[in-house]
């Protein structure tokens, strides 16, 4: 007949500090692997559009002629596929979440500043 089964846990929790965190006054717990938001290094993007094809929620849009890279933060579900498939590794996953918004902000625009390096003169190799 168990009547006082819970007493031990209750007594201990009186003397322990609370298990909850005062978020957003204190920052949330994060780990090095946490998926927060996608960050692009604009000086390395070659506008190959692989990230746009692989995105499962169609959140990325690249215009190679205007050299822009747009991401709709509300559609992105931080699945990490664009980071893994980028061939020049210009995308990284940051660990902090984007703060909540009250008005739809649309897509975030980034201008790509990558300049293709000029082809080196190949005077050394000549096929006969």
């Amino acid at each position: 007949m168990g009547i006082f089964e819970m007493v031990g846990t209750v007594a201990r929790s009186v003397f322990r500090k609370p298990a909850t965190l005062m978020y957003p006054v204190k920052t949330a717990k994060i780990t090095p692997l946490s998926r927060g938001h996608v960050v692009i290094d604009v000086s390395r993007c070659i506008s190959c559009r692989i990230c746009q094809k692989k995105c499962p929620s169609q959140a990325i849009w690249v215009e190679p002629k205007e050299k822009t890279w747009q991401i709709n933060r509300l559609r992105c579900n931080v699945c990490n596929s664009c980071v893994e498939t980028c061939p020049v590794k210009c995308l990284t996953m940051d660990t902090h979440y984007i703060p909540p918004v009250t008005v739809r902000p649309g897509a975030e625009l980034f201008h790509i500043t990558y300049v293709k390096p000029p082809k080196p003169e190949n005077t050394a190799e000549k096929k006969d």
Binding site: M6, T9, T31, L33, S34, P56, N77, N80
Partner: protein
């Protein structure tokens, strides 16, 4: 002759975590008949397979449910690998096993906590969820997400865990086991909980099998059937026995879940000891052609994924049969003859995950 009145239960009800509607036909507070009705969270996810490639559909499959999301991703990946006859490396199989058992631990703690909340025992609910935070922290540290893991892909897993981290996880679980023992003692031995659970919502052994019950609902009525014994992932190399209780009432189902948590911790310890070294993924080329059924053990029961491909990058059909969907007919049988105040307890004892049931 007593009159019959019909009372609607749900879809909005303080004890229901997800919307389900039951029309209860009552005669003087005894339930005589039940007509269930679902469809409040139907998203038509099975139709999306025609518009997403087979490698991208993993993300959709994971988001069918929030509690059991890793197991859905695992079942889909296993289905595609079965169709295309891909051999997954051993280390990836062990890692998938470890993550599924973690998934099972956090799901059972969530269910037990919600069960205590339904009974009115809020202190126990908060303590169960306090223990669950430790498990979610471990999952976030290894996969990057607390709720949606995103670590399964066709051909293996996307991340690796180092052996120091694995040993750290096991020692964390050892400490957690002591606190979980105290928690399950309260569930199984406290007299106020027992008086509300014992003898309520009895599902006899023969009906449980014939009506199609799966998971702890079936194992609480005396059948030792567990889909992990099929030997998918690394389960063929680990030893365990399914937990069985024989009374068939709500107390038995709760006891099955409480005891399964300790079996899961033991499985994780065995897997960490036996895990081999090697790569965690294999390159996948080509397109799936053919059809395949996969069966895995979700925390709520047996999950079946049926996939059909025709040689293009999009699959033709993906059919998901979740355990809560098939536990609804036994629920109808359990509710007949009970009192009105016992209805929330019985609805919770099958562990309803309506988001899964209606993808």
């Amino acid at each position: 002759m007593s009159r019959q009145i019909i009372i609607p239960f749900g879809p909005q009800h303080p004890v229901l975590p997800e919307p389900i509607h039951l029309d209860l036909v009552l005669e003087d507070e005894i339930v005589v008949d039940v007509i269930p009705s679902i469809g409040y969270v139907h998203r038509g996810l099975e139709k999306l397979v025609e518009r997403r490639e087979y490698t991208e559909y993993v993300y959709v499959a994971e988001r069918i449910c929030g509690i059991c999301s890793f197991v859905h991703g695992l079942a889909y990946c296993q289905g595609v690998e079965g169709m295309m006859k891909i051999e997954v490396p051993e280390r990836a199989l062990y890692l998938r096993t470890i993550w599924s058992e973690y998934s099972r631990l956090h799901s059972h703690l969530l269910t037990l906590g919600l069960f205590a909340d339904v009974l009115g025992f809020e202190n126990l609910f908060m303590n169960a969820w306090r223990l669950r935070e430790h498990i979610l922290d471990d999952m976030e540290a290894t996969t990057g997400g607390r709720v949606i893991q995103g670590s399964c892909k066709v051909g293996g897993v996307r991340r690796d865990i180092s052996s120091e981290k694995l040993d750290q996880m096991v020692s964390g679980l050892n400490e957690l086991e002591k606190e979980m023992k105290e928690l399950t003692e309260v569930f199984l031995r406290d007299s106020s909980i027992k008086s509300r659970l014992c003898g309520v919502g009895i599902l006899p052994k023969k009906e449980a099998y014939e009506y199609g019950a799966v998971g702890p609902t079936l194992r609480g009525s005396g059948w030792s059937i567990d889909a992990r014994k099929l030997g998918y992932a690394a389960f063929s190399k680990l030893n365990f026995e399914p937990v069985v209780e024989t009374q068939g009432d709500c107390y038995a189902r709760c006891a099955v879940r409480a005891k399964e948590m300790f079996v899961s911790i033991d499985l994780i310890r065995q897997a960490v000891q036996k895990i081999p070294d090697g790569s965690v993924e294999v390159k996948v080329t080509g397109a799936p052609d053919g059809e395949y059924f996969t069966r895995v053990e979700q925390p709520r029961g047996e999950l079946v994924h049926y996939l059909k491909g025709n040689g293009t990058k999009n699959l033709v059909r993906s059919r998901v049969r979740t355990p809560t969907f098939t536990n609804i007919p036994p629920l109808v049988a359990m509710l007949k003859g009970c009192e009105l105040a016992d209805v929330p307890v019985i609805v919770h004892s099958i562990d309803p995950c309506i988001g899964c049931a209606e993808r």
